[in-house]
């Protein structure tokens, strides 16, 4: 029987002997593998990006929404839900009494006009407490956030978004200035740094005031949201149950709230983007199959070009099986080398994407690398069975008759 080392040497010499053919097939195979890697890295990058964005919104976050809404999510469309009973500051206070609750921030929201000297602007006003800053992972570019005082106490202070500062105050120093919000006056004590969109609210365009001030401003005791940060990820279900039970007890036995976790929303996105990654991988997989067919064609041509050689090998004592092994080894060696080059090109391509779009962590997932490499070798083998069988069945008399 043939020794495997000899088979590989023989195949390697054949690949070296027909350089143009070998290079063309390597290009086809490596493009196939590389495209799988690059496309899946795009999908994976999108998934990681979204995950990262959600994490920046707040970790272990639980949101309590008034009303029994079936819709989970936190878009503005939800805020118009019919509310049988208002969520109040007392409700929010009650929710702090659980050992697994790290902190709580109530939120009241509404539109109002902000004016300073002769400049005016419609803004979104958020009434909340000091805790919101760390729950949402926001930061200040200047000044301080709301003072750490009783939620029930209104005070004439406010924190403004970056865009409002720029538009109302332009070159002036905004910190310490008194502005008018609706009918009330307040002093600017801090300016938020730019965070962009944060679940439907543009942080650059808000004005934040103490929750009690907002209740007075909008003349309503009801809250729009209660944000709860649980101490650990594992304690989230307990805190959710505690919140539901507490509110139910306080609302005459009616569970008239909806509790949404960041995790639920995140998991949905995660699923969508994982499916997207698989789909991209599948699309790229087609190019692998095309590469396989190309290799089959070229191997078929190679076999007919080398009829004399194959006839000779038979005359020298190669069996059908021996010929098949020699031809298949050649094809698989080719696929393997093409696969390795493809992996390298794919990694390079993913690096190129990360370099061009730094926000997108485009790393090809391990499964894509393993899968595309194995598929490359398997398609190489499967598509070369036909040429190899054709070679083994060649009539040595006819093959050797060619002069």
């Amino acid at each position: 029987m043939l020794q495997s080392r000899d088979v590989i040497t023989f195949a390697w010499q054949a690949l070296k002997g027909y350089r143009t053919r070998t290079i063309l097939m390597l290009i086809a195979m490596s493009i196939g593998v590389a495209s799988v890697l690059v496309l899946t890295s795009l999908g994976e990058g999108a998934r990681r990006y979204v995950r990262g964005e959600f994490a920046s919104l707040g970790t272990n976050l639980i949101i309590v929404i008034p009303g029994r809404s079936e819709t989970s999510g936190a878009g503005l469309s939800n805020m118009m839900g019919v509310t049988p009973r208002d969520l109040t500051l007392a409700d929010a206070n009650a929710l702090t009494r659980h050992p697994k609750v790290k902190q709580i921030a109530p939120l009241n929201i509404g539109g109002a006009e902000i004016s300073w000297q002769n400049r005016k602007r419609e803004v979104t006003v958020m009434g909340t407490s000091r805790e919101l800053l760390s729950i949402r992972h926001w930061s200040l570019s200047r000044g301080k956030f709301l003072p750490d005082s009783d939620w029930e106490r209104a005070s004439p202070v406010c924190v403004i978004g970056k865009k409002i500062r720029d538009e109302i105050f332009s070159a002036h120093n905004a910190l310490g200035q008194w502005v008018r919000i609706g009918d009330n006056r307040c002093r600017i004590i801090g300016i938020l740094s730019s965070e962009g969109q944060s679940i439907g609210i543009n942080v650059d365009e808000v004005v934040i005031i103490p929750v009690a001030s907002a209740q007075a401003l909008f003349n309503t005791p009801s809250l729009f949201r209660i944000f709860i940060e649980a101490k650990t990820r594992k304690s989230i279900p307990k805190v959710i149950q505690f919140s539901k039970d507490t509110i139910k007890a306080r609302h005459q036995g009616e569970e008239d709230i909806t509790v949404v976790t960041q995790d639920a929303v995140l998991a949905t996105f995660d699923n969508i983007l994982s499916v997207l990654t698989y789909a991209l991988g599948g699309i790229a997989g087609i190019s692998l199959a095309v590469a396989g067919i190309l290799i089959m064609n070229v191997m078929l041509v190679a076999v007919s070009q080398r009829t004399a050689e194959i006839g000779l090998l038979k005359a020298l004592g190669a069996s059908h099986k021996g010929i098949i092994i020699l031809i298949l080894t050649e094809a698989m060696l080719l696929s393997a080398i093409g696969g390795i080059i493809g992996l390298a090109i794919g990694q390079l391509g993913a690096w190129g994407i990360r370099y061009a779009v730094p926000e997108l962590p485009a790393y090809p997932p391990i499964w894509a690398a393993v899968l595309s490499f194995s598929v490359a070798i398997i398609t190489g083998a499967i598509f070369c069975l036909l040429p190899a069988r054709k070679a083994s069945k060649l009539d040595p008399v006819l093959a050797l008759a060619k002069r």
């Binding site: 043939l2 000899d6 002997g17 038979k314 005359a315 020298l316 069996s319 059908h320 008399v397 050797l400």
Partner: protein
């Protein structure tokens, strides 16, 4: 050692059946030197391919060393070709990308013999055919005579009992042709059975036994009185 009984070999060409071999009965003993002559299409190459087990008879029986090899499986046939039969072709049929030494090594590689044993055998063969200096050369760097010597070395590397040569000097000039014939005859004198197809009468006359074929039949089968000194 070679015994053919009522061998027929038919080819279908269009709707006509061509009898390439028509009732061939032939016995060749170990160590004989046989030339097969005849015009083109007389079936001489078909006979040689059949003895070399590259082709199969349509009917009849072929005994090699008293063993009926007509009904052997493909794997056993390949083994017999590897160990018992050597081929030398008019067109040399060297693998162009392999060096002279690697070409000679091929039958041993196909038999799965250890590299160390192969190397020893190959260098011995190169030496005996005066090719040692050409061992690393590719076929395209060799002259016709050298290529045929490489082919002979390859055909004899497994020490077969039968050497089949199909027009071995057909692609060579006269000088190299003579060299190649000398080598083949020297091998025959050391005991190998040499069967050579040729249409060159002067080559045919050198052999101890010459068979003439016409239209797939053996026309004559004569023992020659030869005197090598006068012919060459």
């Amino acid at each position: 050692m070679i015994k053919l009984q009522k061998i027929h070999r038919n080819f279908q060409v269009g709707d006509q059946i061509v009898h390439a071999l028509d009732d061939i009965n032939l016995e060749i003993a170990q160590g004989e030197y046989v030339s097969v002559m005849g015009p083109s299409g007389s079936g001489k190459s078909t006979l040689l391919n059949l003895i070399g087990m590259l082709d199969h008879p349509s009917s009849g029986e072929y005994y090699l060393n008293d063993k009926n090899v007509t009904e052997l499986g493909e794997v056993e046939e390949a083994q017999i070709r590897n160990k018992n039969i050597g081929f030398v072709f008019q067109a040399f049929h060297l693998v162009p990308r392999l060096s002279a030494a690697e070409n000679i090594e091929l039958p041993l590689m196909l038999a799965g013999i250890e590299p160390s044993i192969r190397d020893a055998k190959v260098s011995l063969a190169l030496e005996s055919l005066n090719l040692t200096e050409r061992a690393r050369h590719k076929p395209e760097q060799l002259s016709g005579g050298q290529r045929q010597r490489v082919a002979i070395a390859r055909a004899t590397i497994t020490e077969p009992a039968v050497l089949l040569a199909d027009e071995p000097t057909g692609n060579l000039d006269q000088k190299s042709g003579h060299d190649v014939m000398d080598i083949l005859e020297a091998l025959n004198q050391r005991g190998i059975t040499l069967i050579m197809v040729t249409h060159d009468q002067s080559l045919g006359d050198r052999s101890a036994r010459s068979i003439k074929m016409i239209d797939g039949r053996i026309e004559s089968d004569n023992l020659n009185k030869i005197d090598h000194a006068t012919v060459s």
